[in-house]
């Protein structure tokens, strides 16, 4: 039957219908946000790890990348060993340390910086924004972020002074170097406004006074293809007993452990949203069916089948859900941005990271789940409508 009297019934009480749609919209917005949160965390993190294509990280035993001050010794040897693996395309060493710098102009003051030692030929850490990259053996050049450039008061072409370990007894740095700013970069793992600088690995090791042991913080490894990642990880684990070898999947698992609270919160709140949707639609339809029992009994009397009655009630519920869901998606995307702004202000979180990631599969999942829930919520009232006894109902209506 195409007359859709069930859907048109929604126009009978426009205020009630509008309120129900609003309720479903808020519930489905919440569900969408929680689906985005749950799926977004891992997706955002995995994207971040793979942004330069390095699928494997080698770190000191028992640590995760840049999670502690621990370092790996004999970096050159390690890099050579790893490069010999047939599945490896490239290896990027990385030194991460605290260093200091002097402002270029103005009152002499020491600013605290975060130093990266990188190999410009193989690096998975930054993207050049302005100026030029470092040459592989450029021991006179430095790369800045916008934040470190502002902190040092320096621009491309300026000479900055970087200080190594500060000795409070001598009131002097253990080492000082004057370097020319070659370029400004975006450091991919930096938190917002982190003042980071980058030099070639040997120079940063000297500044950090770890050159004798040739220490690095992390080795980023790029496998020749995604299919070779797991075999390379297994081989490196067997060869490098003193190091921790993690593929992106492993790192995502560790990350999931750390973010377990948000994942569980997302699941709980998502479930609550579905429950609200079920209750709202179920209650609304039950009450409207009860109000229209006389009408429904008449329809049954004149020959409308139970199946038609059930279908119309379900369609009524589904129509409410469709409209509510459409509004909910729009609302959910807006609230997700607001919630993301809150959560991405976590200290120490990479600025490029996002908690709420609106990926198409997530949005489609949220929509389908809401629609299915809304449709199922109409089952009980539809059953009520179909089972209404005709004669007693008509008798009751007549009194």
């Amino acid at each position: 039957m195409e007359l859709r009297w069930g859907v048109r019934n929604l126009r009978r009480h426009p205020f009630r219908t509008a309120l129900s749609i609003a309720g479903i919209a808020v519930a489905s917005a919440m569900l969408l946000d929680m689906v985005m949160l749950r799926g977004g965390l891992e997706a955002s993190f995995a994207d971040l790890l793979l942004v330069r294509g390095y699928q494997i990280r080698v770190t000191p035993k028992g640590t995760l990348p840049l999670d502690s001050e621990a370092t790996l010794p004999d970096a050159t040897g390690l890099v050579a060993t790893i490069r010999r693996d047939p599945g490896v395309a490239s290896v990027a060493p990385l030194v991460a340390t605290s260093i200091y710098g002097r402002r270029v102009a103005g009152p002499d003051s020491v600013v605290t910086l975060f130093g990266y030692g990188i190999d410009p030929r193989d690096q998975g850490l930054y993207q050049l924004l302005r100026g030029a990259d470092l040459a592989p053996d450029d021991s006179a050049g430095v790369l800045l972020s916008d934040a470190s450039a502002a902190a040092l008061g320096a621009g491309i072409g300026d000479t900055v002074t970087l200080l190594g370990v500060l000795d409070p007894q001598m009131a002097a740095p253990a080492m000082e170097r004057r370097l020319v700013v070659r370029g400004v970069v975006q450091w991919l793992y930096d938190y917002r406004d982190q003042p980071s600088v980058g030099t070639i690995v040997p120079l940063m090791q000297r500044l950090a006074r770890t050159e004798q042991e040739d220490r690095v913080s992390v080795l980023l490894v790029k496998a020749r293809s995604d299919a070779e990642v797991e075999p390379v990880v297994d081989r490196l684990r067997a060869q490098l007993g003193g190091a921790e070898v993690n593929g992106v999947a492993d790192l995502v698992r560790h990350f999931q452990d750390r973010m377990v609270y948000f994942r569980q919160l997302a699941t709980i709140l998502g479930s609550v949203s579905l429950l609200v949707t079920v209750l709202l639609i179920g209650t609304l339809l039950t009450i409207t069916v009860n109000e229209r029992l006389g009408e429904i009994a008449t329809l049954r009397a004149i020959g409308v089948s139970r199946a038609s009655v059930v279908k119309e009630v379900l369609v009524e519920g589904t129509a409410l859900t469709v409209v509510g869901c459409a509004l909910g998606v729009a609302l959910g995307l807006v609230t997700a941005r607001y919630l993301d702004e809150i959560l991405t202000s976590f200290p120490g979180l990479p600025a490029t990271f996002s908690f709420f990631v609106p990926r198409t599969p997530n949005v489609v999942t949220a929509i389908l789940v809401t629609l299915l829930t809304g449709a199922l919520a109409g089952l009980y009232p539809a059953w009520l409508a179909a089972r209404a006894p005709i004669a007693p109902t008509l008798r009751a209506e007549a009194t």
Binding site: M1, E2, L3, W5, R8, N9, R11, R12, G294, E295, T298, L299, R300, A301, I302, G303, V304, S305, R306, S308, I390, A391, L394, R395, E397, A398
Partner: protein, 222 residues
């Protein structure tokens, strides 16, 4: 030859602690083209009898046969289908769907019967013109007067060309003048061969009938 037969129809139901004997072994025969009026005081079982004859209630005892088919042999789906295609109902309170227009209310049984949209729209318009509401076909039920709504209900009852029209107090909610319109319509329908069974308090309607069945306390008098 009969089109609708009831034999030994009994209906008993429980109202809290009280047992109500609505019908006590009633026999009814309706032939094609009959205009039967069922009259009696309130609570005599007239509406119950009509509901049993129409298959919208089941008797505690006895049987109903419509066009040689015993209703008690049919499951709900088949019984519903029979009501859709062979019977037409008119109720005291019209029971039109307020969200549909007059034409759509008339189309409703045809849509359920699977008639194609173009054909059912044409027939709905034809029926509305027959009952004098051709110009009001697009109006929603809530925009019609009581008499107009009842005429739409009659048009709806005729939609699938039923063998019998069953009407329960069709003028019960109408004033005298409007009731006369319905009276005239029923007369015209019966004159054209439509079989009518009407439950009524309205003496004028009863006077129009070819046969009057008087009921009292669940039994037919005389």
């Amino acid at each position: 030859m009969t089109v609708l037969t009831g034999r030994g129809l009994t209906k008993t139901y429980q109202l809290e602690e009280q047992t109500v004997h609505a019908l006590r072994g009633v026999d009814v025969d309706v032939a094609p083209g009959d205009y039967v009026a069922i009259v009696g005081p309130s609570g005599c079982g007239k509406s119950t009898l009509l509901q049993l004859l129409g298959g919208i209630d089941t008797p505690s005892a006895g049987s109903v046969e419509l066009l040689d088919t015993r209703l008690d042999t049919l499951d709900d789906r088949a019984l519903t289908r029979l009501r859709l295609t062979k019977l037409g109902f008119v109720f005291q309170r019209f029971h039109l769907l307020p969200v549909l227009s007059a034409a759509e209310n008339v189309e409703l049984p045809m849509a359920e019967a699977g008639v194609v949209p173009a054909e059912r729209r044409r027939r709905a318009q034809e029926l509305l013109e027959y009952v004098g509401l051709g110009a009001r076909s697009r109006h929603r039920a809530t925009q019609l007067s009581g008499g107009e709504m009842q005429r739409v209900a009659i048009a709806r009852a005729l939609a699938n060309k039923p063998a019998v029209i069953l009407a329960d107090e069709p003028t019960g909610e109408l004033d005298a003048a409007t009731g006369r319109e319905i009276l005239n319509l029923f007369r015209r329908l019966n004159g054209e061969g439509t079989t009518l069974v009407v439950v009524t308090h309205d003496d004028r309607l009863a006077a129009e009938a070819g046969r009057v069945i008087r009921m009292l306390d669940g039994r037919i008098e005389g």
